[in-house]
């Protein structure tokens, strides 16, 4: 393990990779700040650029983009009450009232320090937890992997769907169905290609991600007439106010950071939960344990109310790397996109990753420390300048996002069919999103589809075609029970919601 960490440090601290972290944090902050464009779009836009890179550098860049986007999302939450990222919605509860009081600089500083602390503490947990979990997961067999992926798909549908469990399950099934287009990996039989040569290799993962996130987000900005009322002059140092914190304010933040970084990390590790749930839980938790006087401040510019979600969402981002790096199963939509990127590099994340390719495993973890420092020392002083990005008018922004999306996909295949197909998928996903069909389950279903089929095939062949493996192996049984519990919980919540109505 020590040797692995040393390799990771050497890889992460190379001049090239430090540059990657800086670029990732910077690009992520800018993209995450733009309302509508979240970390998934940001990472999707990075994929085509990383094709020429080695996998470790690409992952370092994407990880930087991920937490940069979360940080950028909090900036737009605080300044214009328009979160660029779902995980920073609860940041606006207390951040925006502070900005309205003329303390925007202070609110941004609190967000930066909290994000830094949450990310750094969670990276220590990741350093300890990931190898342990990787060791445990070596005992996993195909049946357990199949059950685990089903839990992942069910839980992302349950937790990331904002109460639309059935719609999320429809999207999961659609994602799985799309994954079956093209050649079957074992028999090489072509399925659902309808004689179209462009579909014989299957649907490109980058195309699907770009279309459902980046391009449909750009369409959505026009479709819903989103207006951003922010002028470049609003980001001047005079208007933002001081970024210095007093001793009392720091004292108020420290215990909150301690509690919510643990909470955020644990929620991030759970499949499907992620930064959004972590930030809401942290805000709610801190409010519930606050005394009566402090409780009244929540929602009106409370320092604790701003610190809690900001710490938790960054800790959850780090936590979500645990299932990705150790089990090869993404815990969130964003890490699903990263998994797709890793697979396209020919890297199979999972329990063997930290033994076989320690430079990727450890370099990503080590780079998180660098990334958090970069976010603090690069972004905080630059906030007045970076925030001017919010003043970009949408009639400039939309064509640029469309252009980057199209170029990203075209440069991989040089095939015009991909552009037509992408435009159609983006349009359909725009309509589906308007009808509240969530997209992350579709992406997760698409990415896990191939692995799910492979593991189910192995499990069924070993078990003479019987599904009894689901209750015969203890790990599978535990996961199977968990699946039933998730479904029952959704049914219970559905009934409860109807009764209230």
């Amino acid at each position: 393990m020590i040797e692995g960490i040393w390799i990771g440090i050497n890889t992460a601290f190379s001049g090239y990779n430090i540059f990657m972290v800086m670029m990732g944090c910077f690009a992520g902050t800018i993209i995450g700040m733009l309302p509508g464009l979240g970390p998934m779009s940001a990472i999707a836009l990075m994929i085509p650029i990383t094709y020429g890179f080695d996998p470790a550098s690409a992952m370092i860049l994407m990880a930087g983009v991920y937490y940069g986007a979360i940080f950028g999302g909090s900036t737009s939450s605080i300044l214009i009450n328009a979160p660029g990222v779902a995980g920073t919605v609860s940041t606006s509860f207390d951040g925006y009232p502070m900005a309205k009081r003329g303390q925007a600089g202070k609110a941004l500083a609190i967000a930066a320090y909290s994000s830094f602390s949450g990310g750094t503490i969670a990276a220590i947990f990741l350093l300890i937890a990931a190898p342990q979990l990787a060791k445990v997961s070596l005992s996993f067999q195909s049946a357990d992997y199949f059950a685990l992926m089903c839990v992942g798909l069910l839980s992302i549908a349950a937790f990331a769907s904002k109460g639309q469990f059935l719609k999320a399950m429809v999207m999961t099934a659609l994602g799985l169905a799309l994954a079956t287009v093209g050649q079957d990996s074992l028999s090489d039989i072509t399925r659902f290609a309808f004689g179209n040569i462009n579909l014989m290799d299957g649907i490109s993962f980058v195309l699907l991600v770009m279309a459902t996130f980046a391009m449909s987000e750009a369409f959505m900005i026009v479709f819903k007439k989103m207006e951003i009322n922010f002028k470049a002059s609003d980001a001047s140092i005079d208007k933002l106010g001081s970024i210095k914190l007093s001793k009392e304010e720091v004292k108020e933040m420290v215990p909150v950071i301690g509690r919510t970084s643990v909470l955020g990390f644990l929620v991030g590790v759970l499949p499907g939960a992620g930064a959004t749930i972590a930030s809401f839980l942290a805000w709610g938790f801190e409010r519930s344990i606050a005394n009566v006087k402090d409780k009244l401040k929540f929602g009106n510019g409370s320092i604790k109310g701003l610190t809690a979600p900001e710490t938790a969402n960054n800790a959850a981002c780090t936590g979500s790397f645990v299932p990705l790096l150790t089990l090869g199963i993404p815990g969130s939509g964003t890490t699903a996109v990263m998994l797709g990127a890793l697979l396209s590099f020919g890297v199979q994340p999972g329990p063997r990753l930290y033994v076989e390719q320690p430079e990727i495993f450890w370099a990503v973890i080590v780079s998180m420390y660098i990334g958090n420092v970069v976010l603090l020392i690069l972004n905080l002083p630059l906030i007045p300048y970076i925030a001017r990005i919010l003043a970009i008018p949408k009639n400039i922004l939309v064509p640029l996002v469309l252009f980057f999306s199209v170029t990203g996909v075209y440069l991989i295949s040089f095939n015009s069919f991909d552009i037509y197909f992408m435009a159609i998928v983006a349009f359909i996903s725009l309509v589906l999103r308007t009808l509240n069909y969530p997209m992350p389950p579709l992406i997760l279903g698409f990415i896990l589809g191939g692995m799910l089929e492979k593991n189910l095939r192995r499990a069924l062949l070993i078990n003479d075609g019987s599904f009894s493996f689901l209750w015969e192996r203890p790990i599978s049984l535990a996961l199977f029970i968990l699946m039933i519990l998730i479904v029952l919980l959704q049914i219970y919540q559905g009934i409860k919601k109807r009764k209230i109505k």
Binding site: I49, G52, L166, K167, M169, V170, T172, A173, L174, L176, A177, T180, S187, I189, R191, F192, M215, A218, F219, V222, F223, K224, K225, P393, K394, N395, I396, V398, P399, L400, L402, F403, V406, T407, Y410, L411, F414, S416, I419, Y420, M422, A423, A426, F427, L430, L432, T434, L435, N436, L452, E453, L456, R457, L460, L461, D464, G465, G494, R498, K501
Partner: protein, 154 residues
């Protein structure tokens, strides 16, 4: 049971998964694989059952009206959709540089940008910089007859 957009979409999904299920049964597998415990049809069949169940439940259990869809900017999105489509056609014909600049200029203009300085500054330098980064720095080949004609790229 009233009609809502959610119900219509659920019905479409239900039909899609029924068709998918039929097509899954039609996948040609090797003769020796016909009665195997797992063949190329098995997984798509299982997905189709899941899809049929969940879309049927969405159809039956969804309640309440959706937001009216007419209030959104359908026309603008459709025009952008056509522009992206056209971009896909002309990129093969005239190459990356001209097609991308045309796409950006027309899109900006359509979305209301009238200042010609903004129009030019937000298109030509952006495309040139990206093309230089990809072609010059990252060694990604981009076919461009126009720039080849000018002798800028080989």
């Amino acid at each position: 049971m009233g009609i809502s957009y959610t119900r219509i979409s659920a019905l479409i999904f239900l039909l899609l998964f029924v068709i998918y299920s039929y097509l899954a049964g039609e996948i040609k597998v090797f003769v020796f694989d016909e009665n195997a415990d797992f063949n190329a049809r098995t997984f798509p069949k299982l997905i189709s059952y899941l899809g049929i169940i969940v879309s049927f439940l969405t159809l039956v259990l969804s309640r309440g009206a959706d937001d009216p869809l007419g209030k959104y900017e359908w026309l603008k999105v459709l025009v952008l959709f056509v522009l992206v489509f056209t971009y896909g056609i002309i990129i093969k014909l005239v190459g990356f540089f001209i097609s991308t600049n045309l796409f950006l200029l027309v899109s900006y203009y359509y979305l209301g940008v009238r200042n010609y300085k903004v129009l030019l500054l937000c298109s030509i330098p952006v495309v040139a910089a990206l093309q230089f980064m990809l072609h010059g720095l990252l060694d990604v080949y981009i076919r461009d007859p126009f720039l080849q004609l000018l002798g800028i790229i080989s």
